[in-house]
């Protein structure tokens, strides 16, 4: 079964925002929007759920902190508690200030890198990935809204979209 979508192309981000609001109001389903740059407020207008990547980053930070603490506790305190320049290696707490720079850096390292990798995985981006761009102009100065045709009449929908200010309307069989 082939599904049909309509690609409506806009040349202005304000117009696009307006069109998104109208399309939402008319209860058409927006499949995807392609823009050359971040359009402020677009996610809210589309009704996208807020990202949870900051929460993952916090948790990764905690992982990094635990790694740093357990690593240094094992190496410096448990495995071979040497006297290095008179530093008190009797317990972790006594030697804590010397470990803090590493604890901090590893927390940041884990939080940052694992968050970036999470972002890549969730956004499905990797080297040699085939670009999913329906129209190369959307990387330059055009905005493309992909609307699901579903059970709506194609004429009505395209009429509606051209009323919202689209400069080009294309019917695509997916």
């Amino acid at each position: 079964m082939s599904s049909k979508v309509i690609h409506a192309i806009y040349t202005d981000d304000d117009l696009l925002m307006q069109a998104v609001k109208q399309t939402k109001e008319a209860h058409y389903r927006i499949e995807e929007i392609y823009t050359p740059f971040p359009v402020h407020g677009l996610d809210k207008a589309m009704g996208l759920a807020p990202t949870r990547i900051a929460i993952t980053s916090f948790l990764y930070g905690l992982v990094g902190l635990s790694v740093a603490i357990s690593m240094m506790n094992f190496i410096m305190i448990e495995d071979w508690p040497q006297n290095i320049g008179g530093k008190p290696s009797f317990s972790f707490l006594e030697n804590l200030p010397a470990f803090v720079p590493i604890m901090f850096e590893l927390t940041v390292f884990f939080a940052a890198h694992l968050m970036v990798i999470t972002f890549y995985l969730r956004s499905k981006i990797w080297p040699f990935k085939k670009a999913e761009n329906p129209d190369p102009r959307t990387t330059d100065d055009h905005f493309l809204m992909e609307v699901d045709v579903a059970n709506h009449k194609i004429e009505d929908l395209s009429q509606f979209l051209s009323n919202t200010g689209a400069v080009e309307i294309k019917l695509i069989n997916k």
Partner: protein, 459 residues
Amino acid sequence: MYTLSSKLKLTAIIFMVVGAIGLIFSFVTAPSSIQEVKDIIASQEAHHGGGHGESHAENTHQVTADAHDNKAGGNEHGMTADAHNAEEGHDDAHAEHMLHQLQNKPWAAVYVAAFFFFMIALGALAFYAVQYAAQAGWSPVLFRVMEAVTAYLLPGSLIVFALLLLSGLHINHLFVWMDPEVVAEDELLQGKSSYLNVPFFLIRAALYIIGWNVFRYLLRRNSLRHDEVDHNRFFRQSFKLSAGFLVFFIVTESMMSWDWIMSLDPHWFSTLFGWYVFASLFVSAITVIALITIFLKARGYLDFVNDSHIHDLAKFMFGISIFWTYLWFSQFMLIWYSNIPEEVTYFITRIEDYKLPFFGMLALNFIFPVLVLMNSDYKRVNWFVVMSGIIILIGHYLDIYNMVMPATVGESWFIGIAEIAALLFFGGLFIFIVFNALTKAPLLAKRNPYIKESKHFHY
């Protein structure tokens, strides 16, 4: 226009009266003779008798050992007491030492509270100047609140100056280098006497205070005048004044921290101390601005302030709290790591005698704000910001407490009537002056060039 409610006025006055009574009480009850101190030591010994008696059974002079152990609870003190006991008349020397500490206690309590509220006003002025100099688009709706907080700068700095003057006149003994007998026996202090001498000290203090207050006066006057005219000359003037103030501020603030705080421990020095005090006063000031903004908004006076403004203030509270921790840790860790005796005594006295306030403030000033204010949504919830704001203020009071007390009262510290009364008194005065200043001008700076942007600020 804001009108000062009689309830708030009454609260402030009650704070001041209760605080004043408490302060008078603590000044009157401070011991005035060695005999009184010996009585205190004896009664403390009776109090702690049992437990300590057993653990130091070998100790022949339990009086001294116990007095030492009251706060520190370490065996080293028992041993020092033993060693010292060989000396004739050690009891007297110890009692005299304690007498000075107990006599200093109400003065130090007043000094800590006076400095704490003064530094909030100074920090608010610095924050205000940063907003002007950076041409911030979000904050002009808060300018009148910031200006009101800086209204405490003049009385606050004069009170601190009065306390410094009293120290210079030997009415109290907060600054040990002001005592000629001590300096006569101390080569280190003699070496520093070209900087640390009373006349130069007071002249410096006067210069800082005059400078800050002149800048404050001009900035406030420009801000009020700007409302009434149809050109931007006063605004441009404020911009230049702010830039000039920030240069003047960072130099004088740094020197002020050496003079007014670091010289309490005249044998000790730290190069990043000025920044450290700056971080403390900056975060306290931002917190107070946030608290007053939320209070006024809840009363319906600041309709043009929205969640995003609170969110921005909370971000500053969060960020500068971490900045403070960074400086605290940098100072602590460098000294702990190298462990040079002349530097490390500063932290040894604090860790031995002030364990709870010293590490407690770290939890209050760092862990709490980090965990509570990290979430973007929480920064918009007023009661979260208020709660963490109160914690931050308590934490930074303790921070100043930890800077001042070990040098002035040593192990005889206690957060009791004197400290709380001083906080109440200056807190009441602060509220009274700041909220009075809020009634003096409309709460919205009318035609600031950025006011429209600020009203529609949205994060």
